[in-house]
Symmetry: C2
């Protein structure tokens, strides 16, 4: 099949890497030719989206902040998988929150504000809160963590509407990579524990306790009549899962599935959207990821990382490295979760010898 991917970042890149063995061709559409374009069968500049849509048999998106006209056109063609609704929810945080709340899923309390003043008044009522831009947010962009003491001094610059969320006092953050086939079959990879730094995933490790994530994922995907892979991030408090956000696509917290799993999230997504059977993923061994953010790759670093047993490197080959930009990741496996955590700490010292603060 001719599989179209809107967006050419690392998520599309890994989708093609993992999908090369399948019987597909991969066409990529984007505004600039990112990593996925480099290994695609054909790159389409964004203005040629009509021809792109016509040439593909099925079209997916690797990311939510991609060209809206291309998405619309792909959706009208009937080829977009998962459809337009999930990505519209994702592109507009207010819609996402309302959808989840109105369908009865556990989410943090929130209110919508029209301007910064109103946002601050709501935040002040919550005590500790996150003020988020309704549009364009990912990796902690457009988010402000406030509490009663810093509220008045925090400068909030958002051009759009605001979502003000009560800050959840969580025990940990976690996520699940779930998948749903065209026939409605539901599968899920084992959940992972995630450590975020300033809104960006720093490292994660699987398996992690389910805490109800599986059944929430199954229900959300069914209610959206979703086809493909979805990543859902949660706060875990007292063993219960509260949805933080959904991502209607392959997800950074699912990169550990590239190693130590019977199938990666990327291949699972491709199988789902092309109508192939999706298997129940097996996690063979504890597996995790350390993100490489804003760093330069060097031979010495590569050698040091790979000298640690059970590691492998995915280097995205992005042009232009800057602070808070994800440029690669390290996969890690180990015999036990404890050994995995220890290895992650060791690797973190190798990748960020002076700590990650200046990069993230």
């Amino acid at each position: 099949m001719k599989v179209g991917i809107i967006g050419s970042g690392q998520l599309g890149w890994m989708t093609i890497l993992e999908g090369r063995k399948l019987l597909n061709e991969y066409y990529v559409l984007d505004e600039i030719a990112g990593p996925a374009a480099r290994i695609s069968d054909r790159y389409f500049p964004v203005e040629s989206y009509r021809s792109f849509v016509e040439k593909c048999d099925v079209i997916t998106y690797e990311f939510e902040h991609v060209n809206g006209r291309a998405l619309q056109y792909a959706s009208k063609s009937g080829k977009l998988m998962p459809g337009l609704e999930p990505i519209e929810l994702k592109r507009e945080r207010i819609l996402e929150k309302e959808y989840l709340r109105d369908h009865g899923y556990p989410v943090a309390e929130f209110e919508v504000a029209a301007d910064a003043g109103e946002a601050k008044r709501i935040a002040s009522r919550f005590g500790r809160a996150v003020i988020k831009s309704s549009r364009g947010g990912y990796d902690g962009k457009g988010q402000f963590f406030v509490n009663r003491s810093n509220l008045s001094s925090t400068e909030i610059e958002i051009r759009d509407r605001f979502v003000v969320e009560e800050m959840i006092d969580f025990d940990s953050e976690a996520s699940i990579i779930a998948s749903r086939g065209i026939d409605g079959s539901f599968r899920a990879h084992k959940p992972s524990f995630n450590l975020n730094l300033r809104g960006m995933l720093f490292y994660n490790s699987a398996p992690f306790d389910d805490c109800g994530m599986g059944s929430i994922a199954s229900s959300v995907m069914e209610s959206l009549n979703y086809v493909g892979v979805m990543g859902i991030e949660f706060f875990i408090r007292d063993g219960k899962a509260i949805i933080n956000e959904i991502a209607p696509r392959v997800h950074n917290t699912g990169h550990h599935t590239l190693r130590g799993s019977s199938i990666s999230q990327f291949e699972q997504h491709l199988r789902a959207i092309t109508g192939l059977p999706i298997p129940e993923p097996e996690l063979y061994t504890p597996s995790g990821v350390l993100n490489m953010i804003g760093i330069e790759m060097q031979k010495r670093l590569e050698l040091e990382i790979l000298a640690v047993p059970g590691t492998s490197i995915y280097w995205y080959g992005k042009k232009g490295i800057r602070k808070r930009r994800k440029v690669g990741h390290v996969n890690l496996t180990a015999g036990t979760i404890t050994a995995l955590r220890k290895k992650t700490e060791e690797l973190s010292r190798i990748v960020y010898p002076d700590g990650p603060e200046e990069f993230i």
Copy 2:
């Protein structure tokens, strides 16, 4: 690094598939642009081998029957890994057999014959024998199985010198995928049991008992000062391993390492030849391969294969499908070796509903 691959068949194709995540570019040289050329960063027609060699940092070969001048030129440049000696042994069966025998490795008894008459006389002494062409043989090409009753009627057409080997009455065939780093470190994937049909691998399954294969591999590779992955095929008789042949490259019997292993033979080979640390491969779960030989791929077949849990398809995308041509393979994993064998039989009935005989 710029990694050059001489040969553009499925072995090079999977090497690039598995190597894409590493920090390399892949240049491919061949007489015709096969599957590997399609996904390479650059394809060089064979006549431009000088420019190919000059542009690469390290050069490997995916197969032994590739252009000799290119190999020579790459070797002279000092970039060829593993070097010229292993592939020269492989290209000339007499040299391989003599090398192994003279170094004291267990091999079947053999003699060299200059013509068909002499070959038949030697074969008759052995009773049951295999008459093999010294050059150009793989996948059972140029091999004649003879015994006292069919010897006189067998027509042997070989243009070259002959190796006549005593036929080993083996209990099973097996192989090991071993790897050696630039620093001399030795690693090995778990051996596999192999079922060959008319000289071609039909299916295999790992793990299999070591039977001494590991130490033989380690010794052979050390004596050749080998760098990279080597596949060694064995006959197993009374629990002891007798070398059938060596392949100085990634090997069809190592394709199961693409699934259920901590690292594939392809990534292991690339790590070794680019001077990266090579890890001890872990086999997480019983894993095997069913070769797809001479068949056409169809959506219906793809769906049927993938409906069996634990399967994935590698379809090489070759142009021109014919009898005895390897066109793809199915990877299979299962919880136990017994379950794996059962699954392999089930898949064999799906892929070859009327049996494999007309294809192999």
